[in-house]
Symmetry: C2
Subunit: 166 residues, 2 copies
């Protein structure tokens, strides 16, 4: 792209190559994991991530608002996802006893069993796509870089436009 | 997760932290860029990427199959996206003169103008989220790592399960 805007700091060639590689890798990996999980667990990667979060919570139960925050998704997307998980019998919702307006999501025994069955294939896919291909130095670097990007996109300031606050 | 499967090479603590940081960063960045582009250009990030690809092609025109390959998306997702771009007047499709079954996607002048208007804001968002936060060493490392991951997910072998071949 060229434009008349003189103030714009366009990406240079190397930055463009890096950005394109980021886009390609993230698109391809999401597609790959979605395919693998659809095949093995009959659910997309995002849903699988929600079951993982619930499985690690005390009593396999979390506030919906907290689940959205940890999954980095909007409340409406979470509601939709949990409704689908409920249809499959993998999760259920209940009103929060301490807060009339709050809801908890709970992993069912069936959901836990599904997770146990599909986790080895999922981990193998993640390992094969990322960790088996990178040196330990690159793995360390990837973790640092991704933490920096994630932190930058979650400012603490009031009124920040974060998915789970929408 | 714990399971009975003894052969599974589970992620260790550092690998888990790296994987979680990757998931958080990629989710947050996609949301951030989608929001910015919906606000400034009335389209999601994936659609914007298609217009960029077309703008860089000779005569602002590409075979649909090639566009899907470059965008790393399925043909059906591309068809859907281009249909939406057509509704906005930003792209159009025409039959390929040299191949009865092929179709080209073409960037319209309106599409090019939309791209010119929205590109500065998009580049600023990408720069702010990634390049302004990383050292040049980290930027180099990010490019290398993402190229390795992307290459690993695009095997040359026949029958590989790639989005644009579906």
């Amino acid at each position: 792209m060229t434009t008349q805007n003189e103030d714009t700091r366009w990406l240079n060639d190397e930055e463009q190559r890096t950005w394109l590689a980021y886009l390609h890798a993230t698109m391809l990996l999401e597609d790959h994991l979605d395919r693998q999980l659809q095949r093995d667990a009959k659910m997309p990667h995002v849903y699988y991530g929600l079951l993982v979060q619930l499985s690690q919570a005390p009593h396999r139960r979390m506030r919906m608002t907290e689940l959205a925050r940890q999954a980095k998704i909007t409340r409406s997307r979470l509601s939709h996802a949990v409704a689908r998980l409920e249809q499959h019998g993998w999760a259920r919702r209940e009103d929060c006893p301490s807060d009339k307006r709050g809801q908890n999501a709970i992993l069912t025994d069936e959901g836990y069993a599904t997770l146990q069955q599909s986790a080895p294939g999922h981990v193998a896919a993640v390992r094969q796509a990322i960790f088996d291909r990178l040196t330990s130095e690159q793995q360390k670097s990837l973790g640092e870089i991704m933490r920096i990007i994630a932190e930058g996109l979650q400012p603490n300031e009031a009124g920040a436009d974060l998915p789970w606050l929408r």
